[in-house]
């Protein structure tokens, strides 16, 4: 189920980035950890309860301006769905 573009994703309780002084950024959650690279880190950092899904899409389309905008949107919605299924997000 794809997230609503107007909803505001926020990391669920117990889901957080590891300490900034570590070389590899990781999303820590109950009994699990996801390695974050460029785009996935950009997405997770915006799951703050302030950005709407639409705003995240727009901002990443600007950062990754060489990529096909529709592809950026599809990838973001796919990644947010994956995080939601892991129960790492609340949508406000």
């Amino acid at each position: 189920m794809s997230p609503d573009l107007q909803s505001r994703p926020r990391l669920a309780p117990g889901c957080r980035l590891n300490d900034a002084n570590k070389q590899q950024q990781v999303l820590l959650m109950p009994e699990r950890a996801l390695r974050l690279n460029g785009p996935s880190l950009e997405i997770v950092q915006r799951c703050d309860g302030n950005h709407t899904v639409q705003q995240i899409v727009t901002e990443l389309q600007q950062i990754y301006s060489k990529a096909e905008p529709k592809k950026v949107e599809t990838d973001i919605l796919g990644y947010l769905t994956l995080l939601a299924d892991q129960r790492a997000l609340d949508f406000e």
Partner: protein, 377 residues
Amino acid sequence: MTPPANPLALIAELTHRCPLHCVYCSNPVELTHRAEELPTETWSRVFQEASHLGVLQADFTGGEPLARTDILELIRAARMAGLYVNLITSGMPMDEVRLTKLIEAGLDHLQLSFQGAREDTAQEISGTKSHAQKLRVLEWLKKVRVAVTLNFVIHRRNIDQIEEMLEIAESSSATRIEFANVQYYGWAFANRERLLPTRAQLDRSLEVIKNAETRLRGKIRIESVVPDYYAKYPKPCMGGWGRKLVLITPNGDALPCHAAKVIPGLQFANVKQSALREIWETSEAFEKFRGEAWMQEPCKSCDRRAIDFGGCRCQALLLAGDPAATDPVCSLSPNRSKVDALLADLNGPIAGAGVGPAPPAEAALTRPDWLYRPNPA
């Protein structure tokens, strides 16, 4: 020789003291006494060493970790070291104020264990009146911000209560449920004849869980562990020996798994004398079943050896008498017949047909009653 990949999680058995006496407790039959428990400073050093080694998460468990009066300091120390802190608790030595303090100290994730969905079942299994307190803890948890998992340990006496367990979870703030079937070592091995579910019970429970997974998608993540006696292939026990996890016992011994002390002749290094990196990379116990050199046939040439790593070494010892044997629950093991014989006793001759006889009458059991886990001195 290249050093092994770093561990990802540190299982910190902070104490073996516990208000419950569960008949399947994962603690060893020989419990560590309170006087031998590691002090706060040693645990704090171990958390630092673990973090430098690449560990991401600490699992505070026991016994009952809240039996430690320094639990807040330990949580702070683990967070300070950069670890994610999981606490696995019975919820017994808890009130609303203590819960708030745990979260202020930096607790990331609280796992509340349940022995059943009803007070009478929970009391039979834990040897204590404990269920109502757990329901109170769930109410307090709704008012704070922390990840919550409900851990239901599943066996013959409560496997028919999965729907009721789901109701408890759905009316709580839990985002995760574990339905973990009992694994048969230690206390559970001693009580196996009363704990092992029938095939018909298991099949029904899996159906209920599957439907719940679909219904609760995006709301509650469900993880389910089947009893491996009924599986075709063994579980990748601990994610492979010395591959992902390191467990520290209350007195500081470093183990590759909860039950490793049952394996005769294995020497365990202790964090009081040795650094965690040295233990992980070079100690005899962690090297013993790491990699593939120790494997026998059929594991040695099996395509699945990098998937399940030959299964569980402790189970191989318990059922085949040899810790280096293929896990006897594997359908390819020459010892599988021992597991099948057990299942046939329980289910009738056609194990898997789902039409076996009722579980054995109490009179047919070899032990007169449950063997309850006591409290260490």
